[in-house]
């Protein structure tokens, strides 16, 4: 076996099973493994007590089981400045941001990577379901995780090839059930721990009450595009295009089709609703996006190229054609088939087969060359 004992790998340990097994596997492979727990959000209680989170206790347990040193590092300020402020700004603009994409780009694979290098690391590792390959020219390519259900390249789509140069994804070639099995066989404390849900800083808290602590909500009319008022909304930021739950509109006794959010007008503070999952206002032919990020240079593909794309996490890929604008600052993505609920603020992530090419942030969706009223 290759001698890895002089290669130091700092593993970002969250207290979950995926990062636990990542650390375990690296230790098995003989690396000099160091576990670090990232504290990105201040959940200090009212008494000012620095809370020993359950997650950190799990990191401590697992690290002792594996036999590696563990520490924690605080990125609360960086997270607030680089992720949370962006998150709030996007909501203020009536968009639906994806903080995890930015968190990976700014915190886990930047601030954390820098910190790991200060600890003498050669690599960092995380428990993401994604794979890396390196071509003959030394370029890193990001590939989907082997487990289709778990592939997390969507959230990693804004990492540069340079960032990836120092990264390992030890479980990227595994299926989740196998990861759990390894954790069980190794007797790791987190083997049966439930997967974490939702955005990291909100945790299991109620999203609506969380957001209301930071942004003023103004209730307003909930109506159809035909002008029929169906009720009131609690504040536009609480609703996402295509959302069904929480509207409080009963069946109308005609066809009993459920109601969906089909549009927003930020300037008039109106939430548009419409009947039916396949409501026509939810379908777009193309989108326009900016904040473009390519993991590797794509100039050899030309200004218009075919690939597949996802507009949200865990969606099936759609066939698309990408049209790059000459200024390089925005692009247009035309869909082979109309796409449902393409939401401004979310990432559109591009793939060529297994490879994740990069992503951009959606600004607007169009139907018959007319912008859908989503902001």
């Amino acid at each position: 076996m290759q001698d890895n004992s002089n290669t130091r790998v700092v593993v970002g340990m969250s207290g979950g099973v995926d990062s636990s097994v990542s650390a375990y596997l690296l230790k098995q492979q003989g690396y000099d493994v160091v576990g670090v727990f990232m504290k990105n959000w201040d959940d200090t209680d009212e008494n000012g007590v620095c809370t020993a989170t359950e997650d950190y206790k799990d990191v401590a347990k697992v690290a002792s089981e594996i036999g590696i040193p563990y520490y924690s590092v605080n990125f609360e300020k960086e997270y607030w400045d680089r992720v949370f402020t962006y998150f709030l700004d996007e909501y203020k603009k009536g968009r639906t941001p994806d903080p995890d994409v930015i968190c990976n780009k700014e915190i886990k694979f930047r601030a954390f990577l820098d910190y790991a290098l200060e600890l003498g690391a050669d690599y960092i590792a995380t428990g993401h379901y994604a794979r890396l390959t390196r071509d003959e020219d030394g370029h890193n390519h990001l590939l989907r995780g082997s487990d289709d259900n778990k592939d997390q390249t969507y959230f990693l789509s804004q990492l540069s090839a340079d960032q990836l140069d120092r990264v390992m994804f030890p479980i990227g070639n595994m299926d989740k059930p196998d990861v759990r099995k390894i954790a069980k066989e190794a007797g790791l404390a987190t083997a049966d721990k439930k997967d974490s849900m939702g955005i990291c800083f909100i945790g299991e808290k109620n999203f609506k009450s969380f957001l209301s602590n930071y942004l003023p909500s103004v209730s307003g009319k909930m109506m159809t595009f035909d002008g029929e008022v169906k009720g009131t909304h609690d504040g536009l930021m609480y609703y996402t295009i295509g959302q069904r739950r929480g509207l409080g509109i009963g069946g109308d006794g005609i066809d009993n089709q459920p109601w969906f959010v089909v549009g927003k007008d930020l300037s008039k503070n109106i939430l548009y609703v419409g009947k039916g999952y396949e409501n026509k206002h939810l379908y777009a032919d193309y989108l326009v996006a900016s904040d473009i990020f390519w993991i590797n240079d794509i100039s050899n593909r030309g200004n218009d190229f075919r690939c597949t794309a996802k507009f949200r996490y865990r969606q099936k890929d759609c066939g698309v054609t990408v049209h790059l604008n000459d200024d390089g600052k925005s692009l247009k993505v035309t869909f082979d088939d109309p796409a449902r609920a393409v939401t401004p603020g979310q990432a559109v992530v591009f793939y060529d087969g297994e490879e994740c090419l990069g992503s951009a942030i959606i600004d607007a969706a169009y139907q018959n060359d007319k912008e859908l009223q989503y902001i």
Binding site: V34, M38, K39, T51, Y56, P69, S72, E118, G120
Partner: protein, 382 residues
């Protein structure tokens, strides 16, 4: 990887003869010292012999020694119980800004219960001024609690002078001698000390054990209530083997041995200082290296490198140093001692580490530390 332990102000490894003594007593003398049968009598004899050894070490009478669960309990008892017992004489207490939390927290509790506390400031070397103390004393002052020597920077307080000053004042004089005991020549009679706290595990004895010296005539109800042990001054069955081990640890520390240790530690400090200078490290000593200090403590400001990062990197090299109390938040509570010395805005409070030596620290250990620290600092400064 050779591990190097340089955090002896936090705790020390147990001495071999202490361990052997405790092992023997655990095996052979498990009796409860409060019982009348032979098992109890044997235990009682060990307890009282140990008490005598310990009383001698600070020139106290044996009935002035109360065994406790350690420095923290001794401090809590001395401060809270004495203040409450003397409330009829006044409600004013004087202490310093650089006491250990085991003193500051009980005082905070008293402050919330009607007492007034004056915190004496310190200068850049961590020293208080006797003038400040004189000016703070008034006819309501019932207690003065000033540590013997500081645990973070090693500054020594003017204990003898304070004792002289207070001997004709109603205020009781308590000193937290947890760091100084074992290195300094402590004499409670010479220095007019009324109450003194120590801990066994800082001098190569067992953990969860210490004593409170209480001058005869100063009375207060037991902090821990229950049995009549320790002349009703501390309830709870005494841990005879541990107390015996404590006495053995104290016996190890003869005056000659203390001199040797002080000299050795002073040289370690100079060695580190010189090596850092030779390697052009950008650093300063917090406080000072002087013959008039607690010699086992060295506090270094390594400019531009956070405490946590330095401490973590040293740990990855197997070297244990202190950086203040860490919490899960991945940051370190800034030291109140360095704040008191240099102000809250000083970079020192976030960029300092404390090294502390013990009986078993060797010059090789010190050199391993120097080698590793210099390597880490140079790498991080690149």
């Amino acid at each position: 990887m050779k591990k190097v332990y340089l955090d002896n102000a936090a705790t020390t490894p147990i001495a071999d003869n202490v361990l052997q003594d405790m092992y023997d007593k655990f095996k052979n003398n498990f009796g409860n010292a409060s019982t009348l049968y032979s098992f109890g009598r044997d235990a009682h004899t060990i307890l009282e012999n140990s008490r005598q050894v310990i009383a001698n070490s600070i020139n106290a009478n044996e009935d002035e020694i109360v065994f406790t669960s350690g420095g923290t309990e001794s401090d809590n008892t001395a401060i809270i119980q004495v203040a409450k017992a003397r409330k009829h004489l006044g409600n004013h207490i004087i202490t310093t800004a650089i006491e250990h939390e085991a003193v500051l927290k009980p005082l905070e509790y008293l402050k919330n219960n009607g007492f007034e506390v004056t915190y004496l400031p310190v200068d850049k070397n961590g020293n208080i001024s006797l003038e400040d103390l004189k000016n703070s004393l008034n006819d309501k002052t019932i207690l003065v609690s000033v540590m013997y020597g500081n645990n973070e920077v090693g500054s020594l307080m003017p204990i003898h002078e304070i004792g002289e000053l207070l001997k004709d004042h109603q205020a009781v004089f308590h000193t937290d001698a947890v760091q100084a005991y074992g290195l300094r020549d402590i004499d409670v009679k010479r220095d007019h000390i009324d109450l003194l706290s120590t801990s066994a595990h800082k001098i190569n004895g067992p953990k969860m054990l210490g004593f409170l010296y209480r001058k005869n005539g100063i009375d207060f109800p037991s902090f821990i209530k229950g049995g009549d042990q320790e002349e009703k001054r501390r309830a709870g069955t005494e841990n005879i083997p541990a107390i015996s081990g404590f006495a053995t640890a104290v016996s190890n520390l003869t005056n000659e041995h203390k001199l040797v240790l002080n000299k050795k530690f002073y040289e370690f400090k100079k060695r580190i200082e010189q090596a850092f200078i030779d390697n052009k490290i950008d650093f300063e000593i917090n406080g000072q290296i002087s013959h008039d200090n607690l010699q086992h403590v060295l506090n270094l400001w390594i400019k531009g490198i956070s405490t946590y990062l330095m401490q973590t990197n040293l740990d990855l090299d197997g070297i244990a140093v202190s950086g203040g109390s860490a919490c899960t938040a991945g940051s370190i509570e800034p030291s109140h001692v360095l704040k008191a010395m240099y102000g809250s805005d000083s970079d020192r409070i976030n960029e300092s580490i404390r090294i502390s030596f013990g009986q078993y620290t060797t010059v090789e250990d010190v050199d391993v530390f120097i080698g590793s620290a210099v390597k880490i600092i140079k790498r991080l400064k690149k």
